[in-house]
Symmetry: C2
Subunit: 422 residues, 2 copies
């Protein structure tokens, strides 16, 4: 067999096993699924040393290949991170099982009883980069929602992923579920991703998690629907009727609480009507907190530390302590800027004017729109949905945080007493 | 400009206008949208003669090209069909507007108020074959749900579609909405479909409506998500605990009420345990009603009119007065047959055994599963959803009948009082 043929055979085998396991999982009780999750958490704790050893090998190789510091940081596991992973599994076990829930139920005049009932999607493919904990987190969410998972981690975390996978599969077996319900692709061959993205017979949806280049590749190549966001180029708009103290608190948090998350604010828009009073304190707060500010003319006039801004800045997701600042000519101008340059992820207005707030919330076409709150709340946990597998900026099926509910589909269950259609 | 360039320019122009119109439509009130629908209905009634004249030209050309009788029948309009079209628009106006509905709303411990609010999807592309009434039906559903529509009808109905489109756009203008909210592709060039299927920048979802070869082409070529079903290879399973009289009534209706609809039963499964009493009357009813029956050995033994059945029959959506019949070895065997050969559209069990019914409803992975009712109820109107744009066998976003609700997405609207994330 040549290389392509054997890779295809390997991937098809994984796909077929996932499809078969998905049928078992779809029918599994909440108790059984939870037992598997709790057993997997115990297994991760019990095999801590093996996971750490595997991770040390991954890290050593990454250092030999001179991978960047940020990537290395994401790759490294330690006792605290392993415990967090195990705790994550315990928490997913505690979530409400969406499968079997009646989303709606009604009767027809002819007596037909119609229910819309949640069912699993089937098989979910996850393609991710260096963080090994994604293996446990996403595998757990798929399992809880009754879906089989095929995981494809980054080659740099190959050994760590394999060690964690052993624990997940141990948990599945202990609960009497097929170990193939959660599989990882057992090769670092980059061509495997290409094959995975075309296995529409075996995979119902793909969740890519990683940097922009990974997501772009997946969007370009996938023949399977995606839950994904390319980027979170988010805005906080300080409206003419914004309370200054509230705005200061929100802007600093939205930009700087954590700069690397997809809910971070990347551009601050300040209404011309309050630029005189609000712009200077807002910009000074950011500068004093160590944030680089790139501003338009009005913003540069506020503080000599403000750098110039180019059009490309309005389109940039910095994921860093950098912010673009612009003075806008009222609500419509702010909305137009967000619609033109934003990525439809998460955008906020700060205002005490209820009508302006509602106009903003209605007009901005983003997955999450907020008034008087930090964009950093863009997170399934903060929404009360439990853990999330990611955030989607697509409009089909899942939008915003993708939790266990969003990993389900539904079917119509119709109960009759002999009805026929006239 | 060469041909490809000018076609691309034409299609891009349509896409851009649709995107712009979608923004206006998303913000339009229910009253405005309804006014446009009612005005369009009036316009269709007022322009009845022009529509009929355009249709006569289409029909004359189809006859010159010797198009088949079924296609010709779908193409022909008459006064009754035009009135039905206008009435359809009135009915869509009377539907509840899904846009702006709060699907859920909850508060977080930190005081954040989170609402999940329905919003339009954006721009919907519809690719269909000969029936000119699809132009009005689907255009209306898109408009009601706040979406712009790009319609691509069959070349055989080109003039009829154009005449109906004039009325829809007249309705839009009369209500002060952009006429470009509903557009049709102004060329019969088959290459236009290929371009449409790749316009992911301008179209959010494509609904193909037509025969299997059209759907297969769309599936193969589309870079845009689809709401579609390839076929409805549906089953009615007469269980061991089925009431014979109920089963007879349901089976004849499920197969023969209308044989050309996607909810028609194509295969009858009869439980071995009741084959002795139930098989003969069920098969005789069908034969006497003029249905061709293709059966396994046990079924052929019942009546000499029964023809033999081949494996390909289990996979066939006849859309005709033909049925495949098989005696199965109990519930599990019936479920296994449906899972192996079915198309996950609509499947029914007839039984008085509640446990068997629930097992069937849970195990059969179809968009619609029924107990003691005809599969011909697979229809948005019968479900109480009003008109439907189609039935989806996909599991993402829309499954089963696709009505105005399924033509929407949602956004999260978060209202705070200055909250920042710890």
């Amino acid at each position: 067999m040549n290389h392509d043929t054997s890779l295809n055979a390997l991937m098809t085998g994984i796909g077929r096993q996932a499809r078969a396991a998905a049928k078992v999982l779809a029918a599994a009780s909440t108790e059984t699924k939870n037992a598997a999750l709790l057993a997997a958490a115990r297994s991760i704790r019990a095999h801590r040393d093996e996971i750490l050893a595997a991770n040390r090998e991954d890290v050593a190789e990454a250092e030999r290949k001179s991978l960047g510091g940020a990537m290395l940081d994401r790759l490294v596991l330690n006792e605290a991170r392993i415990e967090a992973m195990a705790k994550g599994l315990d928490e997913v076990a505690a979530l409400t099982d969406p499968v079997g829930q009646e989303m709606a139920r009604w009767s027809r005049p002819n007596g037909l009883d119609i229910a819309r009932v949640r069912v699993p999607l089937g098989v979910i493919g996850i393609i991710y980069e260096s963080r090994p904990n994604v293996t446990a987190d996403t595998g757990a969410l798929c399992l809880k929602s009754g879906n089989a998972a095929i995981l494809r981690g980054g080659s740099e975390s190959f050994r760590s992923t394999a060690a964690i996978m052993v624990c997940l599969q141990e948990g599945l077996r202990e609960a009497g579920l097929p170990a193939e319900a959660v599989q990882s692709v057992p090769t670092t061959d980059r061509a495997a991703v290409g094959v995975l993205l075309k296995m529409s017979e075996f995979i119902d949806v793909i969740v890519p998690r990683g940097g922009k280049s990974l997501i772009e590749r997946v969007i370009a190549e996938s023949r399977i629907p995606l839950f994904q966001h390319l980027e979170g180029n988010n805005h906080t708009y300080v409206h003419a009727a914004a309370d200054l103290e509230m705005a200061r608190k929100i802007v600093v948090n939205a930009k700087l609480r954590r700069t690397g998350v997809c809910g971070a604010t990347e551009t601050l828009l300040v209404d011309k009507a309050v630029a005189g009073t609000h712009l200077a304190p807002l910009v000074t707060d950011l500068l004093d907190a160590g944030c680089e500010v790139r501003g338009d003319g009005a913003t540069q006039a506020v503080d000599r530390r403000v750098l110039g801004v180019a059009e490309v800045d309005w389109q940039t997701e910095y994921l860093d302590a950098i912010i673009a600042v612009k003075v806008v000519d009222g609500l419509d101008d702010a909305i137009a800027h967000i619609e033109r340059f934003g990525s439809h992820h998460t955008d906020a207005i700060v205002t005490d004017d209820a009508a302006a707030a509602e106009a903003f919330l209605a007009a901005v076409d983003s997955a999450i729109v907020l008034v008087n709150a930090s964009t950093q709340f863009a997170d399934g946990g903060e929404f009360g949905m439990g853990a999330e597998i990611g955030i989607s900026t697509g409009k089909l099926h899942a939008r915003g945080p993708v939790g266990v509910e969003q990993l389900t589909s539904f079917k119509y269950v119709v109960r009759g007493t002999g009805q026929v259609r006239p």
